[in-house]
């Protein structure tokens, strides 16, 4: 039986953001943009969706007098990612 995949994470960009933040503790917006090769506008929308779901924390700050957004995964985000990977396993095992 297939487990249901979390629709919020089952999107190319949102999954990439969460996977990146699971691996590193904190990352700024520019770094996430470089790694995911997403546009600034699109990334902002997806970050906001993840923030509203409580999966990430976005802190606006200044770095060298320039505005900077630091994103950090929350324990809820880590749980959601782990559940997503667990659900994904059921699909992979089925295709094996």
């Amino acid at each position: 039986m297939f487990k249901e995949l979390n629709p919020l994470l089952h999107s190319e960009l949102r999954l990439a953001i969460i996977s990146l933040l699971v691996s590193i503790r904190k990352a700024d917006f520019v770094y996430i943009m470089e790694q995911t090769k997403a546009t600034g506008g699109n990334l902002s929308v997806q970050v906001e969706k993840l923030r509203k779901a409580g999966y990430i924390k976005a802190t606006k700050t200044f770095k060298n007098k320039r505005p900077c957004t630091i994103c950090q995964i929350t324990p809820k985000g880590i749980d959601a990612f782990e559940e997503y990977v667990e659900a994904l396993k059921s699909y992979i095992q089925k295709t094996d």
Partner: protein
């Protein structure tokens, strides 16, 4: 990347790719430079204190040790401010807090010698050695681990040499082998794109 639904097989590719991208230790060079600054300053200050004690040129030569925190702390803050990587990994965070804890303990130990007489250089070297072993384990670089272990062993040797005029050069040489040389080896091992 876009906001689009993906196939299950694609999910695995995205997760793997992102974890692989994040694996690069982008702050390695900054952390390495901080280690080298502390190493070099401690090395030269310990030699300076030794020369001052040897020549009896300055009666409060122990105060010269203050040069270490007074130069290294601002230098470390300045190097951190130069950080343009925009990320903080779990390892970076752990190294930061462990180093901060050890620096605080080393400073309190140094100030305690003003009140109580005890083998301060032995304790300082033991703490430095332990810190380097922990950092070496976190960054998974063997020469740093060996350097730290060398520091721990050398610290015990200081217990058998109660003369401060012998302890000080031993302390300086140990810093050379446990901080400066492993620091340079680590710097050399960092790839050019970091």
């Amino acid at each position: 990347m876009e906001d689009r639904k993906i196939k299950e097989s694609e999910s695995l590719t995205i997760i793997t790719e992102m974890i692989k991208n994040a694996r690069t230790n982008l702050r390695a060079r900054i952390n390495c430079n901080i280690l080298l600054i502390w190493g070099y300053v401690t090395f030269f200050v310990s030699l300076l204190v030794w020369v001052l004690k040897l020549t009896d040129a300055f009666s409060l030569s122990s105060l010269v040790w203050l040069i270490v925190p007074l130069t290294c702390i601002p230098a470390s803050i300045w190097l951190h401010s130069k950080d343009t990587t925009g990320i903080t990994s779990y390892i970076d965070q752990s190294i930061h807090y462990i180093t901060l804890l050890f620096a605080l303990v080393c400073t309190t130990v140094a100030f305690s010698t003003l009140v109580v007489d005890f083998p301060a250089l032995f304790i300082e070297l033991l703490l430095i050695g332990m810190l380097i072993v922990i950092v070496g384990t976190l960054i998974q670089f063997k020469p740093v681990i060996w350097g730290g272990l060398f520091g721990i062993i050398a610290a015990h040797l200081l217990l058998f040499t109660p003369d401060l005029l012998i302890q000080l050069p031993v302390f300086a040489v140990t810093i050379l082998f446990s901080m400066i040389i492993p620091g340079h080896l680590f710097k050399k091992s960092i790839s050019a794109d970091v």
